[in-house]
């Protein structure tokens, strides 16, 4: 029965080892387990006494044989497993780094290709508008933001050239179109914290344009 068990285990380990051998190509991983197993057997033989030596000799023979085989395969398995684990982890780390790099590239691209002039929305309280009104009512503030380079005209190119040549007294004239509101929403009526009605004029954009 025991023999059968060991034989089965041995066969399974042999199968696993064969699979690993087929999968792996590195021969250096084989070398390490062999010397350690031989050193183990030497230690065992030295430690035993004469009388017990005889009795243990019999046991140790069979035990050594089986143990040595088992230990060999176990060590081989462990060494392979460790190697594999290291490689797998390394691969995963590399992949992650690569993905991060790609993400950063995407982010950069997104930033570079910023959106054109358009109407955008921000929900804030009236107090957060910072125009001397105190109220906890929330309000949807629409504003204009984005690029207007596609709307440049000859005027802008000429002005830029003039500025570069220093032909203008002050170089403060703007040579790019502005993303600005072309229409404002209707007046906003709200109740402030002292329960009085207030109105805000021209506070939020309704439409945007490059002017």
């Amino acid at each position: 029965m025991k023999l059968w068990k060991f034989a089965a285990i041995g066969l399974i380990l042999c199968g696993a080892a064969l699979l690993l051998l087929v999968l792996k190509v590195t021969p250096s991983s084989r070398a390490p387990p062999l010397p350690s197993s031989s050193s183990t057997s030497l230690t065992v033989s030295n430690s035993s006494s004469s009388i017990e030596f005889g009795g243990r000799q019999r046991r140790t023979r069979s035990a050594d044989g089986e143990n040595s085989l088992v230990s060999e395969f176990m060590e081989m398995f462990q060494s392979f497993t460790e190697g594999e684990l290291k490689q797998v982890i390394g691969t995963l780390v590399e992949r992650k780094a690569h993905r991060d790099a790609q993400l950063s590239k995407r982010t950069k691209r997104a930033k570079k290709g910023s959106k054109p002039c358009s109407l955008r929305k921000l929900v804030v309280t009236v107090s957060q508008l910072g125009i001397a009104f105190v109220s906890d009512e929330t309000i949807a503030f629409h504003y204009c933001s984005g690029e207007c380079d596609a709307s440049r005209k000859n005027y802008d190119f000429v002005l830029e050239a003039m500025k570069k040549k220093g032909l203008l007294r002050k170089n403060k004239a703007r040579h790019r179109p502005c993303c600005r509101p072309t229409a404002y929403e209707e007046d906003f009526l709200f109740l402030d914290n002292s329960f009085q009605y207030k109105t805000i004029h021209e506070f939020s954009a309704k439409a945007c344009g490059c002017i």
Binding site: G130, S145, Y155, V158, L168, A173
Partner: protein
Amino acid sequence: SSDVEPQMKRDRVRQKAAANTEKSGGRGRGERKRSRGRARSRDDRVKGQGRGCLLKEIHLNVTDLDLGYRTKEELIFRYCSGPCHDAETNYDKILNNLTHNKKLDKDTPSRTCCRPIAFDDDISFLDDSLEYHTLKKHSAKKCACV
């Protein structure tokens, strides 16, 4: 001093015309506020301080435009320049506050701008190889804080 007076007169006439145009346009309150701003700038100009968003002009050679033409023709280039502090609306104040408080995620909306709201008529000229070219929207005609 004698040169300054006719320029001022011209500018007054222009601004009056502009104001009339705006009124006829009838856009709304924004325009009214803007016209007020201009009135101020007019007064400032009379005093000689020359503040505000104004139409300025400069005499140029067409080659100075860096548009790739070769010709000896000349032209008058008009452009808009000047601050727009007095023309800020509630919208602009709110925008400044929100920007200051970093409520806008990475957005940098542009503030009031001194920009042309009308352009001079197209100009045609003859280049050195005897070909006619036409320039469109090359020079400002009216300015405003938008």
